[in-house]
């Protein structure tokens, strides 16, 4: 366990950036998001949710999966072998860290997505524990401890004037060694303070919902009239899916000029009309009702059914805050069987 005074963070970041491309939350206009560290740009360690979740580092919004030449002979070049430069993410919150393990279930299951695996392998996550939930936080619903981040390589806890850093993996330990010069040994007092912060973090939730037994309940809710009401407000934008740390659907598109081109994988969203639109014109999900249902059923029923009961939601609250029409998963959990307390 090591620590560093918050006033010396610049030094820490300088050292970290020597170890790999360092990304941390930075404010740009009104938006806080992970950005490449720059000497004179301050990090924002207060805002809990970054605009985009860190999934973009493993599963970028757009990535080339293969390049090709098709002049005389067709030549295909695997682009995934280029993925995975050494990257350090600083300030990943526990919910977003937990989301990565859900994402792993998709991309690290057979057949393994090579680009994803390489990025995952070459990225060090320095999680930052939360001190106090925001009004839309409901990570506890999914048994995520806001003071801990088991999937991270390092966990940093803000004890007020200092960050106390604990290694949680081999990668983390190696990095701590490299940072020896800027970090101090933590004391037993720090350990107590960390515990206090962690315990404190779990209190004060305004939003309490339970998903206990929800997946099972939803088995029979496909034809529920609830969906007929719910979807009407949806404007079919992709905000909820793109901002969701667990949404992972993609599309493959061609970009070609002359005799060469590339096939790119880009985020897609089940909210969009053309997501399931087939070439002949048939669409198995013809209206927004089916699309909205798909999204929530996927998160709360299909995903748990496919992956040992785990829900595809970590309660980060991004969709709750950002949905233009306030149509969010909290509402669905409550209406379909979970309970929402608090507000």
């Amino acid at each position: 366990m090591k620590k560093i005074a918050k006033t010396k963070l610049q030094e820490l970041w300088r050292c970290l950036s020597a170890e790999g491309a360092l990304y941390l939350p930075v404010r740009s206009d009104s938006v806080v998001d992970f950005a490449l560290w720059q000497e004179d740009v301050p990090a924002d360690l207060e805002t809990l949710n970054t605009f985009l979740p860190p999934k973009k580092f493993y599963y970028p919004q757009t990535e080339t999966v293969l390049k090709y030449e098709f002049g005389e002979n067709l030549q295909l070049l695997d682009a995934s072998s280029q993925a995975g430069e050494k990257t350090i993410l600083f300030g990943v919150r526990p919910c977003d860290t937990a989301a990565l393990s859900l994402m792993d279930k998709v991309y690290l299951s057979e057949p393994v997505d090579e680009a994803y695996r390489r990025r995952r392998e070459n990225t060090v996550i320095i999680a930052l524990g939360c001190r106090e939930p925001e009004e839309t936080c409901f990570c506890q619903t999914f048994d995520i401890d806001p003071g801990k981040a088991p999937g991270a390589d390092l966990l940093a806890i803000d004890t007020g004037t200092e960050l106390v850093v604990t290694a949680q993996s081999l990668k983390g330990e190696e990095l701590l060694v490299a940072l020896n010069g800027v970090l101090q040994e933590a004391t037993s007092g720090d350990e107590i303070r960390v515990k206090d912060v962690q315990e404190q973090a779990g209190e004060g939730y305004l939003t309490r919902v339970s998903v206990h037994g929800l997946a099972e309940k939803l088995d029979t809710c496909f034809a529920s009239p609830y969906w007929d009401r719910l979807y009407r407000r949806c404007i079919a934008c992709g905000t909820c899916t793109y901002l969701c740390p667990t949404c992972h659907c993609f599309d493959l598109q061609e970009y070609a000029a002359g005799h060469s081109g590339e096939r790119v994988r880009c985020w897609d969203a089940c909210m969009f009309t053309d997501f399931t639109q087939m070439a002949g014109g048939h669409n198995p999900r013809p209206t927004q009702k089916e699309r909205v249902r798909q999204r929530f059923m996927h998160k709360l029923n299909y995903f748990p059914r496919q992956h040992g009961g785990e829900y595809a939601c970590v309660g980060c609250g991004r969709c709750v805050r950002q949905c233009p029409v306030n149509l969010d998963i909290l509402e669905v959990i409550r209406e379909m069987g979970g309970a929402v307390d608090g507000q």
């Binding site: 080339t64 590339e262 790119v264």
Partner: protein
Amino acid sequence: MPVTREGFEPLIVAFCCNWCSYAGADLAGTSRQPYPSNVRVIRVPCSGRVNPSFIIRAFQRGADGVLVAGCHPGDCHYHSGNYHARRRFTILKQLLEYLGIEPERFQVRWISGSEGAKFSAVMNELTENVRKLGQNRKLRDAR
């Protein structure tokens, strides 16, 4: 001031209406009025046929400058196409400039079928101005 780059030949895409400006470009040829070879013309029936999307797409794919050329106001073969074009490109041009695209890169001119010399002059001028600016990077696709 941007510095002129050695060896940089700007790519200029010109949308020319069939009845005036394309004929003007032909006349520039007939009367051997030279202009840079990186000027390339796309024939459209009328300047009113030019969709702003075509212009943006040209920039995306690497054009350093784009020209829309049509008949002089009042001379449109289709009576009013260039009047509509004038309105559309008036606001498109202001918008591009507002977004930080150098005004020299997107031009609209009226060139009649008898103005071969003007066609060459406009192309020479446009190329020179864009050459000074350097490559279009702002609207160009990364891939």
